[in-house]
Every structure is written in C-alpha cells, then in structure tokens.
C-alpha cells in the first residue's frame, strides 16, 4: 500500500488553492451521492406508502381475491398472507436448527481445513441466485409430484441457511474461551458445556440472524414461482398444497392491466415492506446491542 503522490511534487504549496478546490469538489460529490441514495430510498418508500395506503384496509387481509370480478365486490389477498405465514414459518423451522448445528460444528469441533471448506460452501450457497435455487428445487422435488407449500418452504430455507449459520458463527466466536475452559475445568462434559454454557450466550445473535434471514426471504419471489404458484383463490393453511404468497401475488398483479389490481399490489407491497423494514431494523438493533453486550464482558 503505497502512499501515492503524497510526497514532494504532489504537495506543492503553490498548488494549494487548486488542491483545495478539487477537495471541495470531491467532498461535494460524496455528499451528492449520499443524497441520491437517500432520495432513491425516499422515492421508492414514498411511492409504496402513498399508493398502498389508499387501498389498505382490512379486506386486504381477510377477503380472498376474485378473478375477473364483474361486480365491485370487496376482494383482498387473504390467501397470499396466509400462505406467506405458513411458508416462511416452515422455512424458518427448517433452517434454524440446521444453521445452529452447522455453526456449532464449525466453531466447536471442526479442524481448520474443514471449517474453511464448509464456510466456503456456505458462502457459495449464499451467492447462488434465488432463481437457480428455484430451478434446483423444481427439478429435485416438484417434477412428477407437483407443487406444495412445503417445497416452497424448503427452497426458502436454502436461502436462509447461510444467513443463520453465519450469524450464529459470529456470535459463537465472540464467546470467550475462558467460559469453555471454566466449564471443562469443572468437569462438565463438552456437549453440556456447549449447550448449556456457550449457546445461551449466543441467543441474541441467533435471534438477530434469524430475524434478518426472515426479512430476506419474506420478499423472495423466484423460488416460489417454481414451487408454489399454481394456486386457487381460497385461503388455505395446508402446506401440502401449493399456497399463494404475497411476493408472488404482487408479481402477478403488477403485470395486470386493471388499475384495481395495481392498487391491491401497492397495498400488499406496503404491508410487506413495513414488515421487512421493521424486521431488518430490529435485527440490526439487536445485533449492535448483543455485540456491545458481548464485547463489554
């Protein structure tokens, strides 16, 4: 890392005014960039809020959709909200235990080579595009036997696994070894040390990781297109059937010519966005809080 241009001719005093001007220009551009980022987010959130708020009513959550309604009967997206709850819930139930166990293995038991290998596998899994996960689950589970909410949940859990595992690994690494030594020194078997002394310290981080993973997959559309998209309009909680989900519903409504469909899409997007934003911000707040607690120890 060389300090380029920082000596001699680069720092000529007679060039100072020009250097100062360049500096101010660059600082101004940086401020501008930040302003653009804020503006973009503001515009997106404002559009969703403004357009979504007008159609936001209890019907959205309680009434099923009516295809090609010839009357103005109230309709909503009840089936989508129910389906999202079921599928995201099942995905979390699948990914959470496996993610924690993977992190425990990597941090407590694995020799360095295995740790690096599995870590890399997790990072690769994190980088696989969601649509490829959709193709994968389609080929593995759906072909020949049909779609279902469970298969959609499995696809989402593939996306959640690296996030949960990584978050758990980070907090496990923060647990001081003195704790482990103390447990083992007192004669507590290793398995008990891990489960009763080490893991409880990490609950905050695990919760954070899970919350962030849920925020990530609640809005995922691509894997569900392959696994849970041939759905009806009635609300169902049965994961053995294909269930409608909020992101897929928004996707389908967004391509419709009917402005009423657009209004429903905005409202659903607003609900989804609020949920995800709350989850993300809560997750990050929990992360900073638990990290401060761990480091203050």
């Amino acid at each position: 890392m060389s300090a380029q241009g920082l000596t001699g001719p680069g720092l000529r005093l007679d060039r100072l005014p020009r250097r100062r001007r360049v500096n101010r220009l660059m600082e101004g551009l940086a401020w501008l960039a930040a302003a653009i980022a804020i503006a973009i987010l503001g515009v997106v959130v404002f559009s969703v809020a403004q357009k979504g708020a007008s159609e936001l009513n209890l019907n959205l959550l309680t009434k099923p959709p009516i295809q090609f309604s010839l009357t103005n009967a109230p309709q909503g997206l009840a089936n989508a909200f129910a389906g999202t709850l079921v599928i995201v819930g099942l995905a979390t139930a699948m990914a959470l235990p496996v993610g924690i166990l993977v992190a425990v293995y990597l941090n407590e038991f694995a020799p360095a080579s295995i740790r690096n290998g599995v870590s890399m596998a997790l990072d690769i899994l994190n980088g696989v595009p969601a649509i490829v996960i959709g193709i994968f689950v389609f080929g593995l589970l759906v072909v020949g036997s049909g779609q279902s909410g469970l298969k959609g949940a499995f696809a989402l859990s593939c996306l959640m696994l690296p996030l949960v595992a990584r978050a758990t690994m980070e907090v496990l690494a923060l647990v001081p070894n003195s704790l482990r030594e103390a447990g083992l020194g007192l004669g507590v078997p290793q398995w008990r040390t891990t489960l009763s002394i080490v893991l409880p310290q990490t609950v905050g981080g695990i919760v954070t990781g899970t919350v962030l993973a849920v925020a990530r997959v609640a809005g995922e559309t691509a894997p569900l297109l392959f696994t849970s998209s041939l759905v009806g309009t009635q609300t169902s909680w049965n994961p053995y059937h294909a269930l409608q989900t909020v992101p897929v519903a928004i996707f389908e409504l967004s391509e419709s010519p009917d402005p009423a469909d657009h209004a429903r899409a905005w409202a659903a997007a607003l609900v989804l966005l609020v949920f995800i934003l709350i989850a993300s911000l809560a997750g990050r707040w929990l992360a900073t809080r638990s990290r401060t607690k761990m480091l203050a120890r």
């Binding site: 890392m1 300090a3 380029q4 241009g5 920082l6 720092l11 100062r20 660059m26 600082e27 551009l29 960039a33 930040a34 980022a37 973009i40 987010l41 997106v44 235990p97 166990l101 993977v102 293995y105 941090n107 407590e108 038991f109 740790r115 290998g117 599995v118 899994l125 994190n126 980088g127 696989v128 595009p129 969601a130 193709i135 994968f136 080929g139 593939c158 690494a173 070894n177 030594e181 083992l184 290793q190 398995w191 891990t194 609640a218 809005g219 995922e220 559309t221 691509a222 297109l225 392959f226 998209s229 041939l230 928004i250 997007a269 989804l272 966005l273 995800i276 934003l277 993300s280 990050r284």
Partner: protein
C-alpha cells in the same frame, strides 16, 4: 480458536478417557448438519447440470454463444447468446453507474458525515437493501418506467437519436434502460456497505500520517484509503456484479422481453435470469425446458466464479493486512 485447542483431553476425545455419549452425539449431529450443508451445494450444482443435460448433449458448448431462440415446433433452436448479451449489458452498465455512487456514499459515511448523521444514513442505505426485488419491480413498472419514458427516453432520442444507442423510446417504459436503472438501485447498497466497512478498516495512523504531511482529505483518500482498500473494493464490485447478474424478478418485470440483439437501449430484451423467470411455468417441449435450465447453469457458473473470486480476493487482502479470521464484520 476452537474448543479443540483448549484441553488435551478434548483434543483426542476417543483416547485416554471415558467416551461420553453426549460428546459423540453432539459432534455427530452437528457434523451431519455441516455435511448436509456442503452436500446441498453439490446437489444444487448436480441437479442443474442434470436438468440441462438434454440441451447440453444436443447443442454442446455452442449453445452459450448461439444467438437464437425459436420455440416454433419443427424449427426449434435455442441458444443463450442474446441473453448473455442482455445480462452483460444490463449488469455492466448498472455496475458502472453504481460503483461511483457507492464509493461516494461509502466515503461520505466513513469520512465526511457529521456524527449524528452517520448512523441514520447507514441505516437508510441498508434499508434499501432490504426492499424486496418484487416491490422494486412493481415500482419500476408503474412509476419509474413511465417516468423514464416520458422524461428521459424521449429527450435522449430526440437529442441524440442518431446514435443507435438512443433509438425509439420504449412502450410504456419497459426497456433495457429501465432495467439498468433498477439494477443500479439494487446493487448500490451491497457495494456501498462493503466499501464503507473497508474504508472504516483503514488503519487511522496511515490516514493521519497522510494528513500530517499536508494532504487535503481527497488526496488522503486517493493516496491512502483507495490503495489500501483496493482489493476489498474489487471484491465488493464483483459481488455487486454477481447480484446484478442473478436478479430475475425485478428485471423481468421491467425489461420488456425480446430475443434479438440490438443496439437500442430503449428496446426490450432479456437477461439469462429474466428469461428463466418469464418462461418458468412451462414450456412445450423437453428441449425447451432443458434449454432454460442450461441458461440457469450458465448463471450458476457465473455466480460461482464471482463468489469464489471475491472470496479469494478477500482472503488474500486479509492475509496481506494481517487481519485474523473473524476480524471483519
């Protein structure tokens, strides 16, 4: 630094002392989970190759650059060329737009922002990352696309229409241009948050040293921060590119669809990912399905390359700077 390193007894759990069933059980169960996670990655790669096999055996490697996609029975021919082109154009342009913006944001947040502004703006940028792609796509179809079409596309076409790049404006705003803007918005948060952490990780004594020599802040950034963070920035850009390449939903909502390669930014097209999303729900023949999975395979290969190279760069940089594992957030 694992628990294995701690005591002699745990280093060799099977010799010298009584084997605890619990220890073995936990290690086996946790190990199985780790094995499952690794096997999952292999399974994904294998299943995608398997699904593409009919197309691979029919077309071979030539598929990757053939510019054709004709699903008419009796004249079927498929190739990834036009979608590879679409992916390249949209992702590279988006990266070119996002990179300077992201650097600017990262510099702002690490060097310039007043203390009270730093945290909220960081949270805001990370919030942009949390917006689901289908919502950005919805906004893209109904708000951004029409706005770009009426304001920017028509103006650019009338002012610079002689350049083939600025041909006829799109219908209703669905175009490659809109897709580029959408992708820029989507990769901005990743690149900027990684860059921000890199800039924050530059040792303060290096920065202070430069400032003590009388440099302006920009010269310090250019002379110390950028060279130090060079590798990490490269990794961030690669990850952003990987994200742009893999984005299917928002792109398919705004890109308009099309098979031919053309120069007009305001025309329609498709990327590898958006073509899969558009044709996902069924195709009329096995060859077409296999060809779509072949597109997915190309996508997978690319994202693996991007991911692995970013990781290698990060590891090399970490070693060079003496950062131990777990030191970066």
């Amino acid at each position: 630094m694992t628990a294995l390193d701690l005591t002699d007894a745990t280093r060799r759990p099977f010799t010298g002392r009584r084997v605890r069933f619990g220890d073995v059980a936990l290690q086996v169960v946790a190990g199985a989970a780790a094995a499952a996670a690794t096997v999952l990655v292999g399974l994904i790669i294998w299943k995608v190759i398997d699904g593409a096999r009919p197309a691979i055996s029919h077309y071979g490697l030539h598929f990757v650059w053939r510019i054709a996609w004709n699903p008419v029975l009796g004249r079927e021919v498929y190739g990834a060329g036009s979608f590879l082109f679409g992916t390249a154009i949209t992702s590279l342009f988006a990266l070119c737009l996002a990179a300077p913006l992201a650097m600017g944001i990262a510099l702002f947040l690490s060097e310039l922002a007043p203390r009270g502004v730093r945290a909220p703006v960081t949270a805001l940028v990370e919030t942009l990352a949390a917006v689901p792609s289908v919502v950005i796509g919805l906004w893209g179809i109904l708000v951004l696309g029409p706005a770009l079409r009426t304001n920017i596309e028509s103006w650019l076409h009338s002012a610079f229409g002689f350049i083939p790049l600025f041909g006829d404006p799109s219908q209703a705003g669905a175009s490659i241009f809109t897709a580029i803007i959408v992708l820029t918005i989507m990769i901005l948060p990743i690149v900027s948050s990684i860059s921000r952490e890199l800039f924050l990780g530059v040792p303060p004594e290096l920065k202070e040293g430069a400032l003590a020599l009388g440099t302006t802040r920009w010269e310090m950034v250019r002379g110390v921060v950028f060279p130090y963070a060079r590798g990490g920035i490269a990794a961030a850009l690669i990850l952003g590119l990987g994200r742009a390449v893999g984005e299917a939903i928002a792109v398919t909502q705004v890109i308009g669809g099309g098979v031919f390669i053309h120069a007009n930014l305001f025309g329609g097209g498709d990327t590898l990912a958006s073509k899969i999303a558009a044709s996902y729900q069924g195709s009329s023949t096995n060859l077409q399905t296999a060809s779509l999975v072949y597109l997915g395979l190309i996508l997978l290969v690319f994202s693996l390359l991007a991911n692995i190279s970013a990781q290698l760069i990060v590891r090399r940089v970490a070693r060079r700077h003496g950062i131990t594992r777990g030191g970066h957030a």
